[in-house]
Symmetry: none
Subunit: 371 residues, 2 copies
Amino acid sequence: MTKMTDLTGAPALPLNTIMAGDCIEVMKGLPEGSVDLIFADPPYNLQLKGELHRPDNSRVDAVDDEWDRFSSFASYDRFTQDWLREARRLLKPDGAIWVIGSYHNIFRVGAAMQDAGFWILNDVVWRKSNPMPNFRGKRFTNAHETMIWASKGEGAKYTFNYEALKALNEGIQMRSDWVLPICNGGERLKTETGEKAHPTQKPMSLLHRVLVGSTNPGDVVLDPFFGTGTTGAVARMLGRDWIGIERDAGYREVAHRRIADVRPFDKSALQVSTSRRAAPRVPFGQLVERGMLRPGEELWSMNGRHKAKVRADGTLIGDDVKGSIHQVGAALEGAPSCNGWTYWCFRRDGKTVPIDVLRQQIRAEMEDRPD
Amino acid sequence: MTKMTDLTGAPALPLNTIMAGDCIEVMKGLPEGSVDLIFADPPYNLQLKGELHRPDNSRVDAVDDEWDRFSSFASYDRFTQDWLREARRLLKPDGAIWVIGSYHNIFRVGAAMQDAGFWILNDVVWRKSNPMPNFRGKRFTNAHETMIWASKGEGAKYTFNYEALKALNEGIQMRSDWVLPICNGGERLKTETGEKAHPTQKPMSLLHRVLVGSTNPGDVVLDPFFGTGTTGAVARMLGRDWIGIERDAGYREVAHRRIADVRPFDKSALQVSTSRRAAPRVPFGQLVERGMLRPGEELWSMNGRHKAKVRADGTLIGDDVKGSIHQVGAALEGAPSCNGWTYWCFRRDGKTVPIDVLRQQIRAEMEDRPD
DNA sequence: ACTACGTGTGAATCCCTCC
DNA sequence: GGGAGGGATTCACACGTAG
């Protein structure tokens, strides 16, 4: 493949392009710590009946059952370890990875991810609303696939747009089981002869939820098993940069045309709900400095059971306790911690008002005139 | 343990008893090829670190028991390989095994099962209808556990009561995802002091479906991690013989009393597992994920007086208001509440269509294969 | 008897910034 | 890098008590 470098001599990222070749080799040529998210839909590769192929496409010549079984699992494991090692190298320290699979391969993949140092955050079940039935009635309808979401390592940071996903789910925390239809109808890519362009095309709704939940606009998303480019199409739609790797020229061609047709959403639609966590921090002392609360004034706990007096330095003093609004609240409640902003109230004109109202006033002013 | 033999000199099966001791050692003393089904609920190796509190400051009662602590993945893997080897030895040639776990351990267990020669038939997802939320909002609600169902080896026969399961599922082929509540209320075993008798008691409805589906009356069911004996209780109820292995004397005592109380062929568990299903809630965000509405697209109020723009996370943004379809509708109308589904319309081909039409489409799809 | 409301709790790898 | 401290964060049920 072509080696690209930027002006500093560091290899540049080939953003929004489909790279040709084996993903392990191609990833070796990309710079370490450069990617925000990896979405991988690796080959399931474990149909031991009939033929079995190594990652390099050579056919495994079975001698007997024992040898064949050992050889095939071991060869799939080596392949998995190899691409996972390169994938992890490419991730930024606060990057994350999603891998999708079925019971044929997902257990080996999950164990390999843990062995490679990834830290599993959730396994997410894609529950298909319209799966193919088990025609022979010998097993359960295979109605789901499993995704593993993992950070780069134990304690590593990662992106999780909690509020946006909660909003997507009408105000209820998003669960680890997602009910979504399989990809068919107009979304399913076809060849000129009307056949499926790719046997395992994933629905865009699945990628939408993955990318809204674990990336921000402008992030770089890598898909090492690009296929017909669902990841790229949704990334472009959502204003994320993407890189695809695919060794099949036919799939690359379909993906290229498909992504070129995508109209990105406009910027304002990409702004998603955020939590208070992202809001600027307001020290309680500022309420006193600005005269919103007077030193000596009494605050009352939300439940009305406790009171404390405001001091000029923005601390509280109650019976035998003094400290921050949080510390005094925790001490009075005998709790391990306490959010003083939602715990304390002041009184004006006979009404009891949470002090958080004052913080919101300050934040509103800051939005008009940011520092 | 005591060695038992029957009249022919072959070791006899200690049917319908709880054996004391470490399951690997105990299994070594049982005869090869003697068991029809194994249900195993091994330690999950949760690796919990500090304490966790709910937003109301109450402390979560974590699984911190000694039996769930392993020094490393390697030591957990050795343990898993050892008990799986003995389990497989005990199975009849046409026997089968179920193992339940979470993302902490299930990938390692699944890979070890394949390595041990088991042949996976399905992975089955237990979708909890009432899981514990993720209190800190840092991950998805961990709302499911995974069960692996496997035969003794590739091509081995196994029991699958297809019609019985179909009947259990109101005439529709049983899928690989089962919606069942966690074990609480009256079914949850308590000590005299009112604490949980076992931290991870499984619901009887789960075992009911497993045993109805993959055993016949008179079959022998072995549970090497017996705990407080859910497997034994359901087996007795359904007229199956059972063997439990448990090393904790306290758990054995609770299980013994519990199983003695079971009336065989009680139909109560059946009623639990076929509990009625509520009308499915469809989040508005799903219309966006599924491409039925585009982020950036405008919606119009039914009366034509207001409009708002759809965002990628399924919220709306109008003049000075943003939030859910319901919130924005209420704000624009100055009303205390608003049903956004009937309030908002989208435009296609010059026609104005209520968004509720799209929700009805999704519900219709779900009715094809409910659960 | 029935409803309304408050409380308790479940296999959990659950914060982040600043000094 | 470790410790301190601000302050953000929950859904579905079962059960008990009040009205």
